[in-house]
């Protein structure tokens, strides 16, 4: 009994030491600023601060059961038309939350009243106010409308206003009722837990969540990524020839 108590005490001390060491802003909040390898990396850091990007999808086993008839809306079979099968072929946006799972770097810029995500892939961004409510009338967009709040050392980001679009690279289609909750917290100074809850009442019977990790890469800076530069898919037709 005494041994177990001491073990718990030691574990708490280690956790407390790790938490204390995380970077913080002058106002004492956890500081997420930096360039990160997001969920779609292996996070095996090699020489030269390398990491390995890998196309990442939501795990089917994590998903909640479908609403009656919604499985067919989610898993729409390929038609051969890239405008339907994967609109990013035509350099259309991947949108939230697919952008968060893109195998590209993302930079976080943080101020006392906002957190900003700069995504390398297609140069999308999310400017997210902290401590504010969603507007009363939100237009449906690819990236949606996001607001954030602090829950202890966790930043909680709530997103609504997403148009019907692909959930992730090969996970089918979400509805315009999609609502996501992202929770970011440091596991250590260079590692952040990224948990996202998918709440789409038109598709799923209940919200479900999946946890990923993000790794800070101190030497990285965002690269230019202009999808249209040398794209071989034009007007809905993909050909390897120019």
């Amino acid at each position: 009994m005494r041994a177990r108590f001491l073990l718990l005490l030691a574990a708490a001390a280690v956790l407390s030491a790790q938490t204390a060491k995380i970077p913080r802003t002058p106002d004492g909040k956890p500081n997420f600023a930096g360039v990160w390898a997001g969920p779609a990396f292996t996070h095996v850091v090699g020489s030269g601060d390398t990491d390995t990007p890998r196309v990442t999808n939501f795990d089917r086993s994590k998903m909640a059961p479908f609403q009656p008839g919604a499985e067919a809306k989610f898993f729409q079979p390929p038609t051969g038309d890239p405008r339907h099968d994967d609109p990013t072929e035509l350099c259309l946006p991947d949108g939230h939350p697919r952008e968060a799972l893109a195998p590209y770097a993302q930079q976080i810029v943080q101020t006392p009243d906002s957190i900003v995500f700069l995504y390398e892939y297609m140069h999308f961004f999310r400017f997210i106010p902290i401590g504010k409510a969603h507007p009363a009338d939100v237009d449906l967009t690819f990236m949606g409308n996001s607001v954030a709040k602090w829950d202890g050392d966790t930043i909680v980001i709530d997103t609504i206003g997403l148009k019907e679009w692909t959930l992730s690279a090969s996970n089918g289609w979400h509805s315009d009722a999609l609502h996501t909750i992202e929770r970011l917290r440091h596991l250590d100074p260079a590692t952040v837990s990224y948990e996202i809850t998918i709440d789409d009442p038109k598709i799923f019977t209940r919200p479900w969540s999946q946890q990923f990790q993000m790794k800070l890469h101190p030497t990285w800076s965002l690269l230019e990524q202009v999808c249209e530069e040398n794209n071989r898919c034009q007007g809905g037709v993909c050909s390897s020839s120019k």
Partner: protein, 130 residues
């Protein structure tokens, strides 16, 4: 050769990359050729490596291989300086559906046999299986 220092990174994941792989390439038509790099297009959304490939009679055909985006390669330590004009490479992948001498570039093998994954997170073709 700059690629030599890089470990073979083979993913068996079958998923869409930026562009639906199967829209452009026929996964039933594996291809593996050896040639000399004539041109490198280090641009988005995918890099292209062009090889001059000589047949038994000495005829030269130019092949184009589409590989990962510059950003994804850069994060793995592969840069535009890793592939030079004049390098002799073997590249394997899948042929383009349009019948051209274009293909996906999944694995590049340098003259000393070292292999590097440069592809789009697709299933490797039969010539690439170990």
């Amino acid at each position: 050769m700059r690629l030599l220092a890089l470990a073979l990174l083979v993913s068996s994941a079958v998923a869409f990359a930026h562009h639906a792989y199967t829209a452009e390439f026929d996964t039933t038509k594996p291809v593996k050729v050896t040639g000399t790099v004539s041109k490198l297009e280090w641009s988005n959304p995918h890099i292209w490596i062009y090889l001059d490939v000589k047949d038994d009679k000495g005829n030269v055909t130019n092949w184009g291989f589409s590989a990962s985006p510059p950003g994804m390669l850069t994060r793995r330590g592969i840069t535009k300086n890793s592939i030079k004009q004049g390098d002799v490479l073997t590249i394997s992948g899948h042929r383009a559906k349009d019948g051209s001498n274009n293909a996906s570039g999944n694995i590049v093998t340098t003259a000393d046999g070292k292999e590097t994954w440069i592809g789009q997170d697709q299933a490797v073709n039969p010539t690439e299986k170990k």
